[in-house]
């Protein structure tokens, strides 16, 4: 027991696959084979809601209990996970941990053990610290699957996959694309997961565009080109992904002001013209209008921001059913 607890765990990328290379947990996009990412996207196609048409019932998770463990605030992500699980016929329990046990000093491990005892089958975890979902996957009972809904600055794999889904829907193939990710890459788990997904899917060029204060050390090693100038960074881009800029970045001397950031890196209609004429504009939300993106662009014809949200449900259904459904890699 002691040895087991203190031995280093397997790499997250290894841990999330079964011996026959199917998805057991979904902790990070990093290290997953391209075919598996494509399988997620293909499966998500089947779950996409067609307007004016009744959602096809797909009770693949009937009898399963999905627990949403949110140690950090989130509305959209939590709700889309909830809808996805319900559409698959699972029982969903939402736990806002900030207001319950964690604030009473219970350790993460104790919280997990207690929820296990309540017959959970899947934990959807959001946590402020990198590696939290990995930690839970390492220590929870073997029949439980863990789905990372965002851990610190590390990863947000379902967000990245819904973005890939949206890109594929609009652009078809990844190989010829230039994708620019703009803004606060330093603090962004979304950007990291997007980069892994885009490079795994053999995207032509992945760029990150930000001032030096918002670009983490050595990010080129992840297979991206770094631009500090917005005009150069989005030139000829097929996809422009804007990241959310949080207010506290001004207080920690990372940026002088929202105004200057918008002036230099904000996505305006004029700037968007530097990208390909049919470029799409994406944002993981929630958006800060007038800080990283102009309203006319956010609400404009090239924006696919709301489609991303809709696709989020299909992609989360796909991942959940791959982990927990019949012939899934996770618990049977």
């Amino acid at each position: 027991m002691l040895n087991a607890h203190l031995s280093p765990g397997p790499l997250p990328s290894k841990m999330q696959l079964t011996a026959d290379r199917r998805l057991k947990h979904f902790l990070t996009v990093e290290g997953l084979p391209p075919l598996l990412l494509e399988e997620i996207l293909d499966r998500a196609e089947q779950f996409v809601t067609v307007p004016n048409k009744q959602q096809k019932k797909a009770p693949l998770l009937r009898g399963k209990t999905v627990m949403n463990l949110f140690f950090e605030n989130s509305t959209r992500t939590r709700v889309t996970f909830e809808i996805a699980a319900q559409r698959l016929g699972a029982d969903v329990i939402n736990l806002d941990i900030r207001t319950s046990s964690a604030s009473k000093g219970e350790t993460l491990l104790d919280t997990v053990r207690n929820l296990e005892a309540m017959n959970a089958d899947m934990f959807v975890v959001r946590h402020e610290h990198a590696g939290a979902a990995h930690f839970i996957a390492r220590y929870c009972a073997p029949h439980i699957a863990v789905l990372n809904a965002g851990d610190g600055r590390h990863a947000h794999p379902t967000q990245a996959m819904l973005d890939m889904f949206t890109i594929r829907q609009k652009k078809g193939s990844f190989q010829p694309l230039k994708v620019a990710i703009v803004g606060d890459v330093l603090h962004s788990r979304v950007a990291r997961s997007q980069i892994h997904a885009l490079t795994t899917l053999a995207t032509g060029e992945v760029r990150v565009v930000a001032p030096k204060t918002l670009v983490p050390a050595g990010i080129e090693k992840m297979g991206v080109n770094v631009f500090h100038n917005m005009e150069e960074g989005i030139a000829d881009a097929d996809v422009v992904i804007m990241l959310r800029l949080q207010r506290e970045r001004m207080q920690t001397a990372l940026l002088p002001s929202e105004r200057e950031f918008f002036k230099l890196y904000g996505l305006t209609e004029e700037r968007l013209q530097l990208a390909k004429p049919d470029a799409i504009v994406m944002h993981p939300g929630p958006i800060n209008r007038g800080v990283e993106i102009d309203s006319r662009v956010a609400d404009g014809l090239q924006s696919v921001i709301l489609e991303q949200v809709t696709n989020g449900i299909a992609v989360r259904m796909a991942v959940m059913s791959m982990i927990m459904g019949p012939q899934a890699g996770g618990a049977a």
């Binding site: 002691l2 040895n3 607890h5 203190l6 031995s7 280093p8 765990g9 397997p10 790499l11 997250p12 990093e30 350790t107 993460l108 491990l109 946590h127 610290h129 990198a130 590696g131 939290a132 990995h134 930690f135 220590y139 851990d151 610190g152 600055r153 590390h154 990863a155 788990r189 990291r192 983490p216 050390a217 050595g218 990010i219 090693k221 992840m222």
Partner: protein, 424 residues
């Protein structure tokens, strides 16, 4: 009571002696060192044929936790672990919750560790009261009570002026100042080395500059005040370069490195392994190369364990929420000897880094095999092979990333002041 160690390969790193000798111990000290043919009349003898004898290790940093943090470890548990690992002198590394402002506290540590009887415990006293970095500690009294040096540990100073004054006052009492180079403003909120891996895993990071800025500042103050400064736990390439240059310019300084820094890098954190959460953080392979070079050319004088035993729960959390530190007593000697296998140091030089050099830094006459020196000795079987197994570790802290590593050579007996304190 006298004891003869017969026919051992004696390694005395202080002088470079390497040969078959008989070593005679009397009243806790080495009383004679003679060719293996010489004979003595003694109460007892150990036939050490096939064994090496070298001085007991002197570890410049062991967080011994008692009193105050006894749930992690006790002086008894940790000095026993030291004896079993060939270490006979431990410097008690103070920390918030277990530090030494008064002579009475220093005497208490001395008493508890003497009663346990497994290893000498040398106390590093506070440089500022309560390690708060504001007011000077009673360094005169601490010195008289037996403190071997003074330090503020990893705690910040209120201002550089405080550090400057503290260095001057320590110099007044001929106390060496152990400095942990860290610019807190640059490290704040960080948990691992800033670089490729921290970017990948998304853990807030500490740049190398957090250390090198502090090294540069402290060097300037050492030069200005004339204080004797010992730099603790170097981790960054540029730090080694700065220390090397300062030594070349004649500054009277010394430096150490933690053993784990010589074998682990930032890559070992890429799976969020909390056992590799340490301070300073594990840095890049380039930094590690520079540390090894610094050891080889003498820029870095000593290797220490920086032993930090923890209870199990301290490491059972997501990386950032775990307590930093490795339980390192039991791997100091084996890792140091591995540097010989790796071709970084020759055997004598390697032993020097954990015996005579650290002894000199704390002004001790231990760490050598010469007539009159304390009979703190290790009898070592160079042919034994073993694996580090957590279940047989003696330290109360099982938090080591080296579990499962195999090592060549094992401690057979450890003698403290001529008395056997460990036998395998």
């Amino acid at each position: 009571m006298s004891l003869l160690i017969r026919n051992a390969r004696v390694l005395n790193p202080a002088t470079g002696l390497d040969g078959l000798r008989n070593v005679l111990l009397d009243n806790g000290r080495i009383s004679a060192l003679a060719e293996a043919s010489a004979d003595f009349h003694t109460d007892k003898e150990i036939n050490a044929t096939g064994l090496w004898v070298f001085p007991g290790g002197v570890d410049l940093s062991a967080w011994l936790r008692e009193p105050g943090l006894d749930h992690k470890a006790t002086l008894r548990s940790e000095t026993l672990a030291a004896a079993a690992s060939g270490l006979t002198t431990l410097c008690y590394q103070p920390e918030p919750g277990a530090n030494f402002d008064s002579a009475a506290q220093v005497k208490l540590i001395d008493e508890i560790s003497r009663r346990a009887g497994y290893a000498n415990v040398a106390v590093l006293g506070n440089l500022t009261q309560g390690m708060k970095g504001e007011q000077l500690s009673n360094m005169g009294s601490l010195k008289r009570a037996g403190c071997v040096a003074v330090t503020n540990g990893w705690q910040p100073f209120h201002s550089l002026q405080t550090l400057r004054r503290a260095m001057e006052y320590a110099a007044t009492h001929e106390l060496t100042v152990f400095v942990y180079p860290l610019e807190h403003a640059l490290a704040a909120g960080g948990y691992m080395h800033e670089g490729e891996v921290s970017t990948r895993v998304g853990i807030p990071a500490i740049p190398s500059a957090a250390e090198t800025v502090a090294v540069a500042q402290t060097l300037a103050l050492a030069s200005h005040t004339g204080a004797k400064v010992h730099f603790c736990r170097l981790s960054a390439r540029l730090s080694v370069k700065l220390i090397r240059q300062a030594k070349e310019s004649g500054l009277d300084i010394t430096a150490d490195v933690a053993a784990h820094q010589l074998f682990l890098t930032e890559m070992d954190v890429s799976d969020f392994n909390p056992l590799c959460h340490v301070m300073p953080p594990l840095r890049s392979a380039r930094d590690q190369d520079a540390l090894r070079e610094g050891l080889a050319d003498g820029t870095i004088d000593a290797i220490c364990s920086d032993h930090q035993p923890h209870e199990l729960d301290a490491k059972l959390a997501p990386f950032q929420q775990t307590a930093p530190g490795i339980s390192g007593l039991e791997t100091l000697l084996p890792l140091t000897l591995r540097l010989v296998e790796d071709g970084v140091l020759d055997l004598q030089a390697a032993l020097r880094k954990i015996t005579s050099n650290p002894a000199k830094i704390i002004g001790s006459d231990a760490g050598q095999i010469s007539v009159g020196a304390p009979a703190d000795l290790v009898l070592f079987d160079p042919d034994a092979l073993w694996d580090l197994d957590i279940s047989t570790m003696r330290s109360a802290g099982k938090n080591t990333p080296f579990a499962g590593w195999n090592f060549n050579g094992a401690v057979k007996h450890t003698l403290l002041a001529g008395k056997t304190v460990f036998s395998s």
